[in-house]
Symmetry: none
Subunit: 237 residues, 2 copies
DNA sequence: ATCACCTATACAACTAGACAAATGTTATCC
DNA sequence: GGATAACATTTGTCTAGTTGTATAGGTGAT
């Protein structure tokens, strides 16, 4: 008889604990040392179990911090109206944005082209991190034409929402012209921000939003943590 | 596999920011707390990165005030007249040279060719280290035809400047015929002298200087610390 | 004999929080 | 207006805890 290894039973026990809600999603599991004491095994044996669970996306470890219970993948609809706050609150999740950098620079050719600007025109750039229930979901970069929205960086600093900032500057509505989606691997920096392993899969989308007159107002790039997000297309609302 | 620690990537990112001019010389970096938010790590991890940069003399912290940028990577113009002292004093930096070795030997074929000497002719060789504000910038090797400048080693020992030494021997002016630039990785010896890590990027330039009559007077090789120097071409003054 | 499984130990890398010390800013008082 | 006090911000230091990685060795089933 092939007995099941100890580490597998531990993984099953912990998985059951999570399923029973004994550990909240997003919450921290007891430290490996404590778990090894609880199960009466070596720390490495517990690690073997946790590694299995991490592979299945059930938990994710953070060096120096602990092992956390992963949340279910977020459904993120991509359509004519892409609104971060709306998308998440509709799913009953708590959205938040975190500013990484705000800067002004000369537009790269690719960016100038997307925004229909002359080469060498200035743009405002908003780098940030999107979170759902406190967990990082995506990195994004929003680029705005500087001459049309001179004060947008201040507006973004006050209220982290792109929609709100644009509204304050006179754009009541905007729609997504086009979205491109490709798969990438996380760079070290991206992995750091998204709290995933370097080389984990990333969903990269680029898109242009335009006002009702068809004038581009934003060129955006987003890097979703592939394990935590599922993009959905074609469920227009 | 020895992955690069997070703090090291942060140090590199910040160093790059400074090199790109996103933080002015003498200006203040964002507070450690803000940087830790931007990079998504603990404050101590940022401190580790800043400590490294401070060690290299790139930034200096002031308790209660902030962390300030000490110096940008040096802009080193490569043109018709390449003068180490001039180049640096013009940027308000304090140049210095350090003699490593002075020797006389038979010219290698490559060197004889550059100086238009017969094979087997003797050359004087000046190996040295260039510093800006006490920080090593580059390793260099200057090679002179021995028969034309018999006393140049003594002249170089008195005043470390190539320009001054040549002037003393009757060359009032000289111009750069040609400069070649390639990228290398630092050997252990170079890393030691330049106080950089082994395997760091090196800018290697070779060039020939000639007197107004077109006669080659010096064949020079220089190894710049890539992190600390930016070569600029085509901004003749 | 080999291999998966497990133990044991040590150190590196990172997080977390708290408090001290220096500095810069603002309010207050006379 | 100028000195002073109070407060907020920022770097420096310390302690403690957690995960990641490497090395070495033991045990039992096939």
């Amino acid at each position: 008889m092939a007995r099941t290894p100890v580490w597998k039973s531990i993984a099953i026990a912990l998985t059951d604990d999570i399923a029973q809600g004994r550990y909240e999603t997003g919450g921290k599991l007891p430290a490996e040392a404590q778990l090894s004491a609880r199960f009466g095994v070596n720390r490495h044996t517990v690690r073997r179990a946790l590694a299995e669970m991490a592979e299945q996306g059930l938990v994710f470890p953070r060096r120096g911090a602990g092992v956390f219970v992963a949340a279910k993948p977020t459904d993120y609809p991509i359509g004519k109206r892409v609104r971060f706050h709306q998308n998440l609150t509709r799913e009953g999740r708590n959205p938040a944005k975190q500013i990484l950098t705000l800067e002004t620079r000369i537009a790269a050719p690719r960016e100038a082209n997307a925004l229909q600007l002359d080469p060498g025109a200035e743009v405002h750039v908003y780098d940030g991190l999107s979170l759902a229930d406190g967990q990082p979901i995506a990195l994004f970069q929003s680029i705005f034409p500087a001459d049309r929205f001179p004060g947008i960086l201040d507006a973004l600093q006050e209220q982290h929402s792109v929609t709100a900032a644009l509204q304050k500057l006179g754009v009541e509505d905007y729609t997504r012209i086009e979205t491109r989606i490709t798969a990438k691997l996380a760079t070290a920096m991206q992995a750091l921000h998204l709290k995933i392993a370097e080389g984990s899969p990333i969903l990269r989308t680029t898109g242009v939003n335009a006002d009702p007159q068809g004038q581009p107002v934003e060129f955006g790039r987003t890097w979703f943590a592939g394990d935590r997000v599922t993009l959905t297309v074609g469920r227009e609302t």
